[in-house]
């Protein structure tokens, strides 16, 4: 369920819609569900509606997690090499 695709807002209209870009596609989306849509925001679009802004960068927690995983996988990865 719930195929959602990140789009970057490139233009805002008055009526709660915006133009947004996803890869090579530029399309109209609704911004009713998010706060302060802004040009440049990356938003997750589902069924034509932006349902949330997404942060383009990994959280600190995530970065920490990757470190842990590298550690955890250490030996195994060597086996692959």
């Amino acid at each position: 369920m719930c195929l959602a695709v990140p789009h970057v807002i490139i233009d805002l209209a008055q009526d709660g819609s915006a133009m947004a870009k996803a890869g090579a596609i530029v399309r109209e989306i609704r911004t009713d569900l998010i706060d302060e849509p802004t040009v440049g925001d990356t938003v997750l679009v589902h069924a034509g509606f932006a349902i949330e802004k997404v942060s383009p960068e990994d959280s600190e927690e995530l970065t920490a997690m990757w470190d842990k995983i590298r550690e955890l996988a250490g030996e195994e990865i060597d086996e692959f090499r």
């Binding site: 949330e52 997404v54 995983i69 195994e76």
Partner: protein, 361 residues
């Protein structure tokens, strides 16, 4: 995901899977994503992923599909719905087949497209067949609010929306539940936040992680779950931080609350679940297709031999259904889980019917 990262995650998963472990991916998009990206072949043997009731098309009872199909055949009705619904079989055929017999059934990408349809066809009754969980329901709510504002008399909604958390509660407390952890649906969590899922670890002691849909997001979430399980400290974590705020999307929840009441709703193969439905509030009754057209919902028995009920509750995998791949294939599907492109049986058949292929070349 780079295959380097994949290897990393794959070996992390192997390390963490210390005993046979069962994780349920609740969301149909997770099911498809896991299959399409071939992730199952990267999991250790003891890690078993089963699918849950997370395909909204699959969990809609046949009687409700039949009601929608009947409504679409009415002379003046133009029915609009998401592509997902076109192939689901009612007792007398699918919406797609109906279009083949001359009914006007249209595929839309957004509920809002029906506004223009209503304005352009004043002599027709436009019915939006609304299906989906908490992700799609806010769009339906926005549509109804707008239809009311514009006083559109020829637009209505046949609402089949469902809520995810109550279904997870039923599964969590079911006898014989063998789920060690839930891979929680990322987009539902975007809307609802963490709170509505906390009861799962807290009341039922089952590990939970909210997951995104990329390969690495899914595998990271599995790492998270396996750690919780291994350390026996079930909690609710999120590996979809880039999109999910712990408090969810307040605006979207508010829209749903303005338009929908919470009600009991029947889930195909599972049965009625308290508080799992969305019924249209009295003040929007003029835009409620079910009331407007007095759509009848009969109780229709499940197709004979089909074990979708058990599939949807994670009790069995498709391979355990004797019809899978023989009597029931995507070409001649028996149950909804084989029809919907996000159905568990369909995904198993299309991407993994012969088990996990081994790379030869």
């Amino acid at each position: 995901m780079s295959s380097d990262r994949a290897k990393l995650l794959s070996s992390a998963l192997k390390r963490l899977t210390k005993r046979p472990t069962t994780i349920m991916e609740v969301c149909g998009t997770h099911t498809v994503s896991i299959f399409r990206q071939g992730l199952r072949s990267l999991f250790p043997e003891d890690l078993k992923l089963i699918s849950g009731p997370g395909c909204p098309v699959c969990v809609t009872p046949q009687g409700e599909i039949d009601g929608a199909v009947e409504l679409a055949t009415r002379k003046n009705v133009v029915m609009a719905t998401y592509g997902d619904m076109m192939r689901v079989p009612g007792s007398n055929g699918t919406l797609g087949e109906l279009r083949g017999s001359g009914s006007d059934v249209r595929v839309v990408l957004s509920a809002m497209e029906t506004l223009r349809m209503a304005e352009e066809m004043p002599h027709k009754e436009i019915v939006f067949l609304a299906v989906g969980f908490e992700t799609t329901a806010p769009a339906t709510a926005a549509l109804m609010i707008e239809a009311r504002k514009r006083k559109l008399e020829n637009l209505s909604v046949l609402c089949l929306h469902k809520r995810v958390p109550p279904a997870l509660e039923v599964l969590s407390k079911a006898d014989g539940n063998r789920v060690d952890g839930f891979l929680l649906p990322g987009h539902v969590a975007v809307i609802l936040g963490h709170e509505p899922f906390k009861f799962i670890p807290e009341k039922h002691g089952i590990a939970c992680t909210v997951a995104g849909f990329e390969a690495d997001e899914i595998m990271l979430a599995l790492v998270d779950l396996l750690e919780q399980i291994g350390e026996n400290r079930p909690s609710l974590t999120s590996r979809y931080e880039k999109a999910v705020r712990p408090e969810g999307n307040v605006k979207a929840v508010d829209l749903m609350d303005r338009v929908f009441d919470t009600s009991t709703s029947a889930w195909r193969g599972i049965g009625p679940i308290d508080a799992s439905g969305m019924s249209i509030k009295e003040e929007y009754s003029l835009w409620d297709g079910s009331r407007k057209f007095d759509v009848a919902v009969r109780n229709v028995p499940e197709p004979k031999g089909c074990r979708c009920g058990e599939i949807l509750s994670g009790t069995i995998t498709p391979k355990e259904c004797p019809l899978f791949g023989t009597g029931c294939t995507p070409v001649n599907p028996i149950g909804p889980c084989m029809v919907s492109s996000e159905g568990t049986c369909s995904a198993w058949y299309r991407y993994g019917r012969k088990g996990d292929l081994k790379w030869e070349s």
